[in-house]
């Protein structure tokens, strides 16, 4: 008799732990033959709020980590993903990708992590400025992380899309709470296992699985979230986000494009999106 495979239980990733949704609900992911692949957590508002609490708690210390350190942490994530490459290729193939597509997506994901790891101690030099004011002051502007970011992750490119969005967020010292691809959430939770075995501090990245329809409004309206990134092109959803984010003047960034495998989907401007410019003055005349 053939060996019975052990199936993985996919749970949320909050504060470095893998809790089930507090709501006790689930939704099913099936393959093309309508065979069950996994029961995923159908996360609730409460799960999101719990995740924001931990993301806020750890934000300042992550922001205060050195740029070098954040770069090395991202590099470590890439190393961990590389070592589990075949697992991710297999998982993406289970959900319908061809072998070459799956391989390409995983490899690009690793490369994208390396790309942003390298930016950690450089983007500041690109975007900051010394401002020649017409008075006796030294004046400069630099970037600082915006804080806690909520992310509606791309539906397509469930792994590469999510990594392309979160790598620039966290390399800039922010923490985030992510709603993973609704269509294909399995890879996001497997990626949480990668994060958990690299040196990303608990709570810096939190990943929930669930339905956009249920969670979008909470991601947009939560008062302790500083920015929201939405990936998609549903105009009704975009309007809702722009409307609800007014409550605390959350920064809103919409990524409508879908070509996450393209080189144009990586640049330091993705980092700058989740940064605030701070300008500092000091007299230079004694």
């Amino acid at each position: 008799m053939a060996r019975i495979n052990v199936l993985k239980t996919y749970k949320n990733f909050i504060g470095g732990k893998f809790p089930r949704t507090e709501s006790g609900r689930y939704f099913q992911i099936k393959n093309g033959n309508e065979e069950l692949l996994a029961n995923m957590c159908l996360s609730s508002r409460k799960d999101f709020r719990n995740a924001v609490v931990v993301a806020r708690k750890v934000q300042k210390s992550w922001q205060n980590a050195t740029a070098l350190n954040r770069g090395q942490v991202l590099y470590r994530v890439a190393e961990m993903l590389e070592s589990r490459k075949s697992q991710f290729i297999e998982e993406l193939m289970m959900t319908g990708l061809s072998k070459s597509h799956a391989k390409n997506e995983v490899e690009l994901s690793i490369d994208r992590l390396i790309y942003y790891a390298g930016w950690s101690d450089k983007f500041q030099q690109v975007f900051s400025s010394v401002n020649p004011v017409a008075s006796n002051h030294f004046n400069f502007s630099l970037l600082q992380s915006v804080g806690v970011v909520s992310v509606i992750s791309p539906n397509d490119y469930s792994l590469l899309g999510m990594i392309s969005v979160i790598a620039p967020i966290i390399v800039g010292g922010n923490t985030c709470v992510i709603l993973s691809s609704e269509k294909n959430p399995m890879a996001s939770i497997s990626f949480a296992e990668v994060l958990n075995t690299s040196d990303v501090p608990s709570g810096v990245v939190n990943i929930l699985t669930g339905k956009r329809k249920e969670l979008l409004s909470h991601f947009a309206s939560h008062k302790d979230v500083n920015a929201i990134i939405y990936c998609g092109d549903n105009n009704q959803e975009i309007k809702e986000i722009e409307h609800l984010s007014s409550e605390n003047l959350k920064r809103v960034k919409i990524y409508k494009h879908k070509n996450w495998d393209h080189n144009s989907s990586q640049s330091p401007f993705f980092i700058e999106t989740c940064q605030e410019l701070k300008t500092i003055w000091h007299p230079n005349k004694v």
């Binding site: 400025s129 401002n131 020649p132 004011v133 017409a134 008075s135 002051h137 004046n139 502007s141 600082q144 915006v146 500083n226 105009n235 975009i238 309007k239 809702e240 986000i241 722009e242 409307h243 984010s245 007014s246 409550e247 605390n248 003047l249 920064r251 640049s267 401007f269 605030e276 410019l277 701070k278 300008t279 500092i280 003055w281 000091h282 007299p283």
Partner: protein, 484 residues
């Protein structure tokens, strides 16, 4: 010859700036498509001198039809203005800068008459900074590819710009200069109580030969503003004003193609440590809160004094307040002018009552106040804490709430514990403390051993509920470009 009595209080003799050389029309129409035109509403409202209650001019109230006309003119102008060679765009803007400088005195006097600010401030700060702002952005027009390397960008289109009454001409410059330098066209609405210098700027724009429709200036109140915000052919909204209205604007343009920048309210923390140069710090604290009668979004309205120097600082502040001169905005000796409007005066008084009801201990400078006009004395509140309304909410007047602290971590926590994040100040002679504080204070602008300084090259703007985006400097260009 009598001996000089050193024990007597010496008063400054009046040094009033002359109004003779200024030109004001009785009535001002709207500036649309390169000329002054009558409003379709046929309605006018009064612009009042807040120091004397005199009506100084009648201003048109633009209605929906007028805004349509202005947006149409701006849209048409955009087609050619955005295609014009950038170096030629620059020359128009340089020319506007120069023409403001040439007429600086006239502008300063009108600014003080219309808004109530001391002539010393309008002459030395508002008007020169406005001219410099045009000069600065003029130079950017043909250099934009160096501002954002490796990107491709283009102007956005028609910018609807709504500005406040606290720095009327300067805010117009902050809005118009970067917008047109980047190739956009503009429909700008000054605040209802301070339209005059924007309309005088329209005269300069007309004389400068700037192509018609590139800058349109429409006057009116909140209703006129909402016609701009909601106009379908406007591509970008830039607003400076209250957080409440900023949120409304963001909400009302949700789901549209409009881009948005907001400069909103603040409750700036000004922190003085025991190792500060105390006399300089006291001067800075006075300037932080009483500059422009406290009608400053980045005013240092929350003072945090380290406990060990609390008594001496408060004593010195009271001393310094006693020598502040409150009165005629046109007098060159005046430190504190008139409150901008009756409405704002009522708001300040409302907060004073709340402060007293909640148990705050008030100290006000004693001064004789004219019966005409809107006046409010410089005011301190002691014995207040984080939960007091006057510590949490923006008053936009000459009212300082003073609290104490013991440790650096405590004061960072207190300073950041607000929905606002526009500005902050820190006073200490210790370098590492300055850098610790400037890093940890969550604000868009941090002044160390200085306060309330502005410059065209220096980006300005807030975090959290103090706004979105920056104005000024290289970074201020971003708000007026569309990136592909």
């Amino acid at each position: 010859m009598s001996n000089i009595d050193l024990n007597k209080i010496w008063n400054y003799t009046t040094a009033k700036e002359s109004k003779d050389h200024i030109l004001l029309k009785e009535k001002y129409d709207l500036f649309i498509n390169g000329k002054f035109v009558k409003s379709k509403s046929r309605k006018y409202f009064n612009s009042v001198n807040p120091a004397t209650d005199e009506i100084i001019a009648k201003i048109s109230e633009a209605n929906k039809e007028d805004i349509n006309f202005a947006v149409k003119a701006a849209n048409t102008a955009f087609k050619s203005w955005s295609k014009l060679k950038a170096k030629e765009r620059a020359k128009y803007i340089f020319r506007i800068a120069r023409m403001i400088q040439e007429r600086a005195k006239e502008f300063a006097v009108i600014e003080s008459m219309d808004g109530g600010k001391p002539i010393r401030e309008s002459r030395d700060i508002d008007i020169p900074l406005a001219a410099n702002h045009f000069f600065y952005y003029a130079g950017w027009a043909d250099k934009l590819e160096y501002a954002f390397p490796n990107t491709s960008h283009e102007p956005i289109g028609v910018a609807g710009q709504i500005i406040p009454w606290n720095f009327p001409l300067l805010m117009a410059a902050w809005k118009i200069a970067p917008a047109i330098a980047c190739g956009n066209t503009v429909v700008l609405k000054p605040a209802e109580t301070t339209s005059l210098t924007a309309l005088k700027l329209a005269e300069i724009i007309e004389e400068s030969g700037l192509p018609k429709g590139v800058v349109n200036i429409v006057t009116g109140g909140g209703k006129t503003g909402s016609e701009i915000v909601n106009h379908p052919n406007i591509d970008k909204i830039a607003f400076t004003g209250s957080t409440k209205v900023g949120k409304l604007i963001k909400r009302s343009i949700a789901g549209t193609h409009k881009k948005l920048t907001l400069e909103l309210g603040g409750k700036g923390a000004n922190i003085i440590f025991e190792d500060a140069a105390i006399d300089q710090a006291v001067e800075g604290i006075i300037n932080a809160i009483f500059f422009n009668q406290g009608h400053v979004c980045c005013a240092g309205s929350r003072l945090f004094v380290q406990e060990s120097i609390f008594e001496i600082v408060v004593e010195k502040l009271k001393d310094r307040m006693s020598s502040l001169i409150i009165g005629d905005p046109l007098d060159k000796n005046t430190d504190i002018g008139a409150i901008n409007s009756k409405e704002q005066l009522a708001t300040i008084k409302k907060y004073i009552n709340i402060g007293l009801e909640e148990g705050g201990e008030i100290y006000q400078k004693k001064c004789s106040i004219s019966e005409k006009g809107n006046w409010f004395p410089p005011t301190l509140f002691l014995n207040v804490s984080q939960s007091h309304t006057i510590v949490q909410e923006e008053i936009f007047g000459p009212v300082l709430a003073i609290q104490t602290f013991r440790t650096i971590d405590e004061v960072i926590e207190k300073a950041n514990n607000t929905p606002y994040g526009l500005s902050a100040g820190v006073w200490t002679e210790k370098g590492s403390k300055i850098f610790k504080l400037t890093k940890e204070l969550n604000a868009g602008v941090v002044w160390a051993n200085t306060y309330n300084k502005f410059d065209p090259t220096s980006p300005f703007g807030g975090v959290k509920e103090s706004g979105i985006g920056r104005e000024g400097g290289l970074h201020g260009l971003k708000a007026y470009l569309k990136f592909k």
